[in-house]
């Protein structure tokens, strides 16, 4: 399999980025893709969602609330946290793409906020107040990953935007772990659940748009790391960062009511299925990048 621009401008970086048969879209091509994939939170129709939410049993509602709260808080956190990544762009083309990703994160925050207000009937009057309430649903590993690990990574990049090592760590943390492992896994199983139950159609439409944006972001992160990991020093750093963060990410996926337990279940899916999906997605992507991590299967 290969990747190439489809109805997009071609870019020499696409060819240069090829490795092992995979050609990834360059930032310029990802920018054009972003232009073609615009959507509006305001256009979503949540009319049926409110009634569906009220009809859910308490366990399902709690599990969905916990699951979606992590998305909501994550999106809000990364909207501002992404600024140092934009400032660390190494070309005007990359800068333009990275700016689109920051816009995406703000749009995703608005999406979850509107869902919380209109479907969960949250009466907070400001986003700040709403975020404080939503944060109460997040577990300790989530808070550590987003408030400590991610913030430290992007803060180092803010101080030293030309430091490639700092950028590699930030991109591994953000694009490979937060988006490429946690978000994509959560989106996959949540979408499966809601589609199977045929509920929350307005949310599903918006969530699908969020997922498509995240896929584009992960495409960028994969491109960036494929370029940088040709240098063994950066490959080692990426590998070490992944080995440090995978256990934390694994804990993030555990619902609070299963804290400390070896197995769990979310929305009818087993911990084995969820963890395997996350690990498989990550390892396949690492192969595209050209990174191998012994023992990671």
């Amino acid at each position: 399999m290969t990747t190439e621009a489809h109805e997009l401008h071609t870019d020499p970086a696409t060819v240069e980025g090829s490795l092992g048969g995979f050609k990834l879209l360059s930032p310029t091509e990802l920018y054009w893709l972003w232009e073609r994939q615009q959507w509006s939170v305001a256009d979503l129709d949540f009319a049926e969602d409110r009634a569906h939410w009220e009809q859910l049993d308490a366990v399902s509602r709690d599990e969905l609330t916990w699951n979606l709260a992590q998305f909501f808080v994550g999106e809000e956190r990364v909207t501002t946290a992404f600024s140092p990544v934009v400032l660390a762009a190494e070309s005007e083309e990359e800068e333009a793409y990275l700016a689109t990703q920051q816009v995406d994160e703000a749009r995703h925050t608005k999406f979850f906020s509107r869902f919380w207000e209109e479907v969960l009937a949250d009466d907070a009057t400001t986003l700040h107040e709403r975020m404080a309430r939503v944060r109460a649903h997040c577990n300790a590993p989530f808070t550590h990953l987003f408030d400590d690990v991610l913030m430290a990574a992007v803060d180092r990049l803010r101080v030293e935007p030309a430091d490639t090592a700092a950028k590699v760590r930030a991109i591994v943390t953000y694009h490979m772990i937060v988006e490429g492992t946690l978000a994509l896994t959560g989106q996959y199983f949540t979408t499966e659940y809601l589609t199977d139950k045929a509920i929350l159609p307005g949310f599903l439409e918006g969530f699908g748009n969020v997922a498509r944006d995240e896929h584009r972001h992960v495409g960028y992160g994969t491109w960036f790391l494929q370029q940088k990991c040709r240098d063994p020093r950066h490959a080692d750093l990426a590998r070490d960062t992944l080995l440090e963060l995978i256990p934390i990410a694994s804990s993030v996926l555990v619902p609070p009511r299963y804290e400390g337990q070896a197995t769990y279940e979310v929305l009818g899916f087993s911990s084995q299925d969820i963890q395997q999906f996350a690990l498989t997605a990550l390892t396949r992507r690492l192969k595209v990048i050209g990174l191998s991590i012994p023992g990671l299967t």
Binding site: M1, L24, Y188, E214, H215
Partner: protein, 60 residues
């Protein structure tokens, strides 16, 4: 399934990855020679995680 359909390439609308039946996706459990239509619905793009339904036929 016609020959043209069986050999048609599909592109991921999210990241641009192309599925070529001649190559398949052995790491994803899809042997070379597998037409896109015969891939399980649970298969996802190896780069970005998009679903099978997020792929569209390539023109030309």
């Amino acid at each position: 399934v016609s020959t043209a359909t069986a050999t048609a390439r599909w592109i991921c609308e999210s990241c641009g990855l192309i599925y070529d039946p001649a190559e398949g996706d052995p790491d994803g459990g899809i042997p070379p020679g597998t037409a896109f239509a015969d891939i399980p619905d649970t298969w996802v793009c190896p780069v970005c995680g998009a679903r099978k339904r997020d792929f569209v036929p390539m023109e030309g």
